[in-house]
Symmetry: C2
Subunit: 113 residues, 2 copies
DNA sequence: CGGAATCCGGGATGATACTG
DNA sequence: CAGTATCATCCCGGATTCCG
């Protein structure tokens, strides 16, 4: 696993905090900007925009603009991103299964003499 | 996917750049500090130490000290971390498979008028 | 509604030096 | 060999403002 290699960069990019949130939130179908903003507690508008742009640039998201008033923009996962989402779910499931274990390990580590 | 929730934090922690590198490097068996330093190009000694401590604290790594001269310290994955490593391999494999796709998507995005 | 642009503070990170 | 300590820096991301 060499830093600087493309795979490393790609893993970093898609494993980012907000990227994961967006991929999960958009997994169930097209979702609007404001819906994402509400679904992802704590994200700033700026980071939402930037992360969406990066994911779109990487071919993970399709951005569809409906020229209505008010404007309506929907984001949906590409097939490639759906594969990624499935893989991410494995990690998330793992994290849920071991949440208590990690908490316990931390406590033991922190209370060591 | 709510930021602030424990699962989110855990995914963030284990999905970190150096954490992934260390987990991969240690997957094939116990590995020494200096071996990690050489295996992970670009990591500073400081970040290696900090990331190792965090992974150990979270119960992902076991640190074994052999009281020899010079000192010998080996790090190995816990069963929990081995499960995580398997899941990470899925992501890494995905990244390798789609490396070219992402590069092409970026080029198209950047050269758009 | 869905952004873009700007400013700016702090935590993450690197560099360097020292040590049991 | 396997770290720790300290300082300096840098850039990530929040806050704010403005816009079609």
């Amino acid at each position: 696993m060499l830093p600087g290699c493309t795979v490393q960069e790609l893993v970093d990019r898609v494993a980012g905090k907000w990227s994961v949130c967006i991929l999960v939130a958009a997994a169930d179908g097209p979702i609007r900007f404001t819906e994402l903003e509400r679904a992802i507690t704590g994200i700033s508008r700026r980071m939402l925009t930037l992360t969406l742009r990066n994911l779109e640039r990487d071919g993970m998201l399709v951005r569809t603009v409906y020229p209505t008033v008010p404007p309506r923009v929907e984001y949906s996962l590409t097939p490639m991103a759906q594969e990624l989402h499935a893989a991410l779910l494995t990690i998330i499931t793992w994290a849920e299964r071991h949440r208590a274990d990690v908490a316990q390990a931390r406590e033991r580590y922190d209370t060591r003499t």
